[in-house]
């Protein structure tokens, strides 16, 4: 079987397995929410509501049905693409997600770009003079970014740049006085599309602090990974062989060492993207960023079952698709990968 066909078969198999994974995740979330202490009826009506009102709401939400019936109804709706309605806001969950998800994607993507830029710059400068001063401080920087708690770093950055210097806004996603452009939900992109420069400036100013904070915290992983992998690859036999053939040092690094060193970093990138959701939550809370992690936290506090279930299923789908994309990219770059 040719490599192209092999890759296609692998992609099809992985895509066919995706619904099974999502079903398992959705079932687990459904069960965990029911097992966890607390009652959504209390969250909606408060603990002083009358029994009649409680019973009526319970019946309206279908919570009086046996657990299996509730589960089957949930699965049936999920298969139809219906994620249900929020208990508190009474809005469709899909609408809540479609409003919050672009904010998180915008923040995560910007943070990821910043982290890769900083991480690679620090990593490269370290490898240029191994064991030198830059390398030493680069390593200290890398270790510090793992060690610093994200919320603490976020508060410090907020205090310094927003409160003390007043350069950037403390929180939020868009200046309160302005009307946000409404096209795709991605404010930077929408501002470009509508040619609204004031909106673009406002959106960028709000994005800069949370995205840089998250980006800096993540950059240590990339700087360390690049430094270690590139150093190892530069000492490998095939790089020495390339040098012995008179290939220039620039080509040795760009053509022979870097592609091999980047392979494990791609896998790290996939894991980082998947773990961003957790990292984003603390940043979203600190900077009042109206993203999906913030909505998820609110929904968990309010025992808003449909919203929690919907957000988890959507996030899980994204993680599955991203990991598939990373696997395919690795397979496309590395001809040794077999499926």
């Amino acid at each position: 079987m040719s490599r192209g066909k092999e890759l296609l078969r692998y992609t099809a198999t992985r895509l066919a397995l995706t619904p099974i994974m999502l079903w398992l995740i959705a079932s687990m979330v459904f069960l965990l929410l029911r097992v966890a202490p607390g009652d959504p009826v209390d969250a909606v009506l408060g603990s002083r509501a009358s029994d009649i009102a409680r019973t009526a709401l319970r019946a309206r939400l279908g919570l009086d049905q046996p657990l299996l019936t509730q589960y089957l109804v949930f699965l049936k709706k999920l298969c139809q693409g219906d994620l249900g309605q929020g208990l508190i806001s009474e809005e469709p969950v899909s609408k809540i997600i479609s409003q919050a998800l672009p904010a998180t994607i915008e923040l995560s993507l910007s943070a990821l770009i910043i982290s890769i830029l900083i991480g690679f710059a620090v990593g490269f400068s370290g490898i240029a003079r191994p064991q030198g001063k830059v390398d030493f401080w680069g390593r200290i920087y890398g270790i510090s970014t793992y060690a610093i708690p994200p919320f603490w770093a976020a508060i410090l950055i907020q205090l310094f740049f927003a409160v003390k210097l007043g350069w950037l806004p403390v929180g939020g996603r868009f200046p309160p006085g302005l009307i946000a452009p409404q096209v795709s939900g991605y404010l930077i992109l929408d501002s470009f599309l509508t040619g609204n420069l004031t909106a673009l400036q406002g959106a960028l100013r709000h994005l800069l602090l949370p995205a840089s904070t998250l980006g800096i915290l993540l950059s240590g992983i990339f700087s360390r990974a690049l430094r270690l992998n590139l150093e190892k690859t530069l000492q490998s036999d095939h790089v020495e062989a390339a040098r012995s053939r008179g290939i220039s040092e620039r080509q040795v690094i760009l053509k022979h060492a870097l592609p091999n060193a980047l392979l494990p970093i791609l896998t790290i990138l996939g894991i980082t993207i998947a773990s961003l959701i957790g990292g984003v939550l603390l940043i979203e809370i600190t900077f009042s960023w109206p993203g999906i992690a913030l909505r998820l936290q609110e929904a968990i506090n309010q025992r808003d079952y449909p919203v929690v279930q919907g957000i988890v299923v959507v996030i899980a789908s994204l993680v599955v698709l991203i990991s598939l994309a990373i696997d395919l990219v690795v397979a496309a770059i590395d001809p040794r990968v077999r499926y």
């Binding site: 095939h238 062989a241 012995s244 008179g246 220039s248 040794r336």
Partner: protein
């Protein structure tokens, strides 16, 4: 472009050491290779052969001090700027490495390697002309141009080394250095690779410096030979003369070791009880296929039967891919067995429950090809030897420690208390293989499987390890299954030999009989490709 002096490489009192070490690895070398000449540089492991290859091309770590004269085509590479040195590498000197797999970029196609080299040295040429030249180079070393887009891992060891030759010879260098180019290849492939290398060098008029520990191979392909020991050339002369009548102490030791390794006579067969009986053994690898339809198999080992007696050495020889290593793995439980019978000390291994099987397998231990790779780099030698005892809960820490001391003495590593504390990287190849043997003996096995256990060692170490194995066999009554691609080594060491081809036994008998009257074509091929040291009367 060849220089007018007619000297490709000249060393005058050349000394080289590593920056961290006060000792000179190369200590006053005087050596010359004329244009178009084929010279072999031989010597024991660690004598500085490979250091010389790297020193010539300035590939040693930065700051490694050197003294004396070093001239390549009249130029001293140490005096050249980075740009000129880069031109010298590839254009004046081509280097072929030992392990072609690790020396090729795994993410780059076969053609990509050649294009990369041609672009580096001729940046003004067009892509199409470079591609045409690269295809011609591939064809020149016997690789079809259709394989241009193949990746190194899709090539066999021999094909990869052919690519290594194409890369080294691409720019018609005046000097080609081949550093143990056939060590990782089987005899037949090695023979073909060397024939290709020598004919290509002759065709373009390049001088060849063949670095090797294999005296017979070096003697077969090079008219002149130099012996290096302790960083000095101790003897130099015509290969045949030097191999028949070595003058120096090192020369005598190396030639004697090589002759001992070749073994003139097949040892006498013992008449003792059978410890391992294999009947119609099948070990097949499944080929990837659809869920439906008949499964496809690679029949790596198919209907192989043999008996191994106490104190007997049975040689298993064959070309690469004939099923030798699968046979080892099947017997040690590392690969599934699809059918047949394996009786170890009258116990049917295949019908035993996992715990009983694990216990029974203690009687069957393995010594691997690469001793460094088979030892945990973070474990001391003492820990590595004690480990099997602790894993099987046979002894406590103290007893395991004592046992490791005893075994180290037994395999000739004395004082044992010193070696016990060493890490694998601190020992030589021969010493490491002794450690591997000691580790295999920890559980008092009845059968020892040696999978190419001497092929990575130099002639002297090979001969020492073979003597050690013979002594252990005589003292402990060990049965040895000796897997090798070298028929001459198997002939001298084993009581009986089986020749494998495509997973089948094609011929069996005492080694000397196979050598004198080979019946199977594969046996004849093995004999033809097996270089032997020249005899005085021939």
């Amino acid at each position: 472009m060849f220089n007018s002096s007619g000297v490709a490489l000249e060393l005058e009192g050349f000394r080289q050491r590593y920056s961290q070490s006060p000792h000179w690895i190369l200590n006053g070398l005087d050596f010359k290779i004329k244009s178009g000449e084929c010279v072999a540089l031989v010597g024991p492991s660690g004598c500085g052969k490979s250091t010389l290859a790297k020193a010539i091309l300035q590939l040693l770590p930065q700051g490694s001090p050197s003294e004396g004269g070093l001239f390549i085509s009249g130029q001293d590479p140490r005096q050249l700027s980075q740009a000129k040195l880069r031109k010298l590498r590839g254009k004046s000197v081509g280097l072929i490495f030992q392990d072609p797999m690790t020396r090729l970029n795994p993410l780059m196609t076969v053609g990509g390697h050649l294009l990369d080299l041609l672009q580096a040295h001729n940046p003004t040429t067009t892509y199409s002309s470079r591609k045409k030249q690269a295809e011609e180079l591939l064809e020149r070393v016997g690789i079809h141009k259709k394989r241009f887009l193949a990746y190194p891992h899709e090539f066999s060891g021999g094909m990869r080394q052919r690519l290594g030759i194409a890369l080294a010879l691409a720019l018609n260098p005046e000097l080609v250095i081949a550093d143990e180019p056939t060590t990782s290849l089987d005899m037949d492939v090695a023979n073909k690779v060397m024939a290709e290398l020598c004919s290509q060098c002759k065709e373009i008029g390049s001088a060849l410096l063949l670095i090797s520990h294999d005296l017979a191979m070096a003697g077969k392909w090079c008219e002149r030979m130099a012996i290096l020991n302790n960083g000095k050339i101790v003897e130099e002369g015509q290969s045949r003369q030097l191999l028949i009548n070595p003058k120096s102490k090192t020369g005598k030791t190396l030639v004697n070791a090589a002759r001992a390794r070749e073994g003139e006579k097949t040892p006498k067969k013992s008449q003792s009880k059978t410890v391992l009986e294999v009947n119609c053994l099948r070990s097949w690898h499944p080929l990837g296929g659809m869920l439906w339809g008949a499964p496809q198999w690679v029949k790596a080992v198919n209907n192989v039967s043999f008996q191994l007696r106490e104190g007997e050495a049975l040689g298993v020889v064959g070309l690469s891919g004939c099923g030798k290593s699968t046979l080892c793995k099947a017997l040690t439980g590392l690969t599934p067995i699809r059918g047949g019978e394996v009786k170890l000390e009258n116990q049917q291994l295949l019908t035993l429950q996992s715990k009983q099987c694990q216990k029974a397998r203690q009687s069957l231990q393995m010594v691997f090809q690469d001793p460094l790779a088979s030892l945990n780099p973070r474990m001391t030698i003492g820990e590595a030897i004690s480990d099997p005892l602790l894993i099987h809960k046979i002894a406590n820490q103290k007893k395991a420690h004592e046992k490791s001391l005893e075994l180290l003495e037994k395999v000739g590593l004395s004082p044992a208390s010193h070696y016990q504390k060493c890490f694998p990287r601190e020992l030589s190849g021969g010493q490491l293989q002794r450690v591997a043997i000691a580790r295999a003996l920890t559980l008092n096995p009845k059968v020892l499987i040696c999978d190419e256990s001497v092929s990575m060692l130099d002639a002297e170490s090979q001969a020492e390890i073979l003597v050690l194995l013979r002594n252990l066999q005589e003292n402990l009554g060990l049965a040895i299954l000796f897997i090798t691609h070298d028929l001459s080594v198997a002939t001298g060491f084993c009581h009986k030999i089986i020749v494998l081809n495509n997973g089948h036994i094609v011929e069996e008998g005492p080694g000397i009989e196979l050598f004198n009257q080979p019946k199977a074509s594969i046996t004849r091929k093995l004999i033809e490709s097996c270089p032997r040291l020249p005899q005085e009367n021939l």
